[in-house]
Subunit: 261 residues, 4 copies
């Protein structure tokens, strides 16, 4: 089995290498990730400038790793179409320090990277934890591996795009895994002036909206699952094609639970 | 009524000003758009660098216009939270020369800009035509105006994100409008080497996949509607929440048809 | 006579258009300048990414103006080699709001733009004033025109690179013009931490050094001339080739003085 | 003795680490270099956006190394003012694969990096070879070390900026070292159209001018020295202050020759 790994925090982020360690037992792992932190660039691609890459010193034996001067989406396309040297069974991105949940996941580069895998026909999944040190947790690693193995079986007519989130481990042990939907939480961005002298500039501050109280959310939302200590597994495929993807999503949840038992 | 307009081709693109002309009869129009062509950057935001803007020479009387040094999403957030100077009734983006359809719409900056409006609680819509000169067509302008007016009424519990596409006018007159879903068309990106001498680089070429034959698509897909000469109106809101948004989507279709009659 | 104009503050800076007005009486004027503020990028060129441009709405009758997505140096090269449509007699850059003096002029994009004109074989000059509103002063405009006309005569075996600075007009009227050398003033850059939360970043603050007391400077330095109310004209050509350029520099000083009389 | 090393080809370029190896015998070496290839950006600084850095895996024992997201000049300023943790005795940049000679050296980031060291009061030197593999040559390394040791003594009233170039070793052994001036060779940039479909863009191609025949150059030029098999050592300090720097330049030449003997 061959798995392409990417992220949005850049190829030097330790949680990327935690993902490599989690998936190496499944087969060949190749890394193609941005050479810098590119979080927040969402689904963006570099279509009007050239993209460059460089093979870098790999922190894992037998794993080829490439730093791509581009977005997370660029890195996955470079990986799939140029660097992997053949078809891959799955694209897994992350591990992102900080959960990617609610409608706001689309600005996440972790999701944006997985999306390009999905659009290019690969089984794809974005993985996030609450805190960076949790990426190395043994249970987290076992669950990621179990879910990725199931995903790579490609049991649906078309591959799909899964979003895997872990609850905060400091709050308590993982209670199980649940199939979820993205919580309809609005954002309330703020624009803060900055700069000095003649250089007036502004910073965009991303803020979750005030409607984030847990009671108002649908009980099957991703935020609710995490809040209650469950692993959240949702489909970000378009239209949540319930007829073909629901059973597959069920199997991912089972895979997660089996790693917990 | 106040409407915020943006796009991804940049504030100097003539089709942006066609949209301004289409919507000016509805009330106050404010433009906040990238100062350069930023197509392809999708949902990306600039969260790690400052964002700057500049009021520019407006091509329409009474319309304030700002060029933002950032992504389409940055421009909408700057517009909503800083430049508009108060609440807006709708965010409308485009007119994009080239249709934004299928699952691939997420790399469109036109959609990425509308998305930030939607996430920030505004009624939002992305508008695209097949060819740039069609943005000035009288029927197109009347339909855009009619649909935007309906959208701005905000008749659903939560605002939603609509995607309006026009069929190629050269093929024949518009036959009507349809509610659609995003066609499940995969992409087949190519990576092409470029550069000279020591500077080896690569270009990412976006290509629609081979499964784009019309027969294989769901009959209610956006691509099918355009192919048959209909205006396509889809919801890009998450989960296509059929219970609350379906009737609203029906009303947008009616609004489009009423401008045709 | 054809003159190519550029700057580093971007094509929308009002002092650029003051320079256009100053030089239009001499002949045909073409503008190729960065489409955004690019001050501080010095001599930098874009050799590894494509460069784009766009003809923009010109604020002066009969003057073609192009906004270049690149550095000031890129803009001049695009102007000389692609946009001008033939040889030019001089490249004049500015008017920069804020003097460009001392050894530190090399980080100025105004100088960096003029440098590319010089390296490409054109007579070239960078022009700076103390405050942006002084770019419109009648005496300033007359002196710029007179000096540029002399420069464009190309009386030396090889064209050279002049640096023209005006003293602060608020202090008193211009007392004359002097041939100067770049003052040997060191800089004392500061690095200031910024950012919030996990995003730790830094700002580079450019600061003139403590040795900037006027007494310690060579009496023929550019800073000294400005301090005493004189227009400063120096050569930034390499090696200050005194044998071939000194007489030419003398003639520029005379041209400045003649516009004062 | 503490030496700050930087370059413009980025922290992963092997010739940077050749320079580290050459200078380590002299004392403590610290590396602060761009995290990507940034050749061609000349003297540019990042004054309007934040600059970030990251400590990276060092390829030399006992050498701290930082990848800076910025220009070569930014890297040196970050190194001097933030990362070194105290004063440094010299800033040495390179080794650049490809000679930096003639008036055109100012677009070199290797020189641009050294320039910021010089402006900030450090003894500074840029080092270049003809071909990247020559950076590891034993004689080259010995000469670099000998010249840097002399430079770091700071025997002039003010530190200065030296430019050290090696002749092509494939042509024959190094014949000696010479004090030179920058050859007055013009450039003849070309602008080449590129892009496909609607995206029309341009590439700037840097080309040395036609006057580069050796006979027409001053015999003491840097190009002439290299052509005749000599190491070229020139001062890039302003005005080539012959009275204070000439003797120091003489001593650098002696240091180079002594490493040859």
């Amino acid at each position: 089995m061959r798995i392409l790994i990417s992220n949005d925090d850049g190829i030097n982020n330790s949680a990327l290498w935690a993902l490599v360690r989690a998936l190496q037992p499944l087969g060949e792992v190749i890394v193609a990730a941005p050479d810098r932190n590119r979080s927040g660039v969402g689904t963006g691609l570099t279509l009007h400038d050239p993209v460059r890459f460089r093979e870098i010193y790999s922190r894992a034996d037998g794993v080829r790793a490439y730093g791509v001067e581009g977005t997370p989406g660029d890195a996955v396309i470079m990986g799939l179409r140029h660097l992997a040297g053949g078809p891959v069974d799955a694209v897994v991105t992350g591990i992102n320090p900080g959960n990617n949940v609610s409608h706001d996941v689309l600005i996440s580069g972790t999701v944006g990277a997985a999306l390009q895998g999905y659009l290019n026909g690969a089984a794809a999944m974005a993985v996030s934890v609450g805190l960076i040190e949790e990426a190395d947790d043994e249970t987290v690693q076992a669950i990621v591996r179990s879910v990725a193995a199931e995903l790579a079986k490609k049991t649906t007519p078309r591959p799909f795009l899964a979003n895997l989130n872990f609850p905060r481990l400091v709050v308590g042990p993982i209670r199980g895994a649940r199939k979820t939907i993205a919580a309809p939480r609005p954002v309330e961005d703020r624009v803060e002036p900055g700069g000095r002298g003649n250089d007036q500039h502004f910073w965009i501050l991303r803020r979750a909206g005030v409607h984030a109280d847990y009671e108002s959310l649908p009980p099957d939302s991703d935020i609710s699952a995490l809040h209650e200590g469950f692993v959240s597994i949702s489909s970000l495929s378009w239209q949540l094609a319930s007829d073909i993807e629901e059973p597959a999503l069920d199997r991912l949840v089972e895979a997660a639970c089996s790693a917990l038992a």
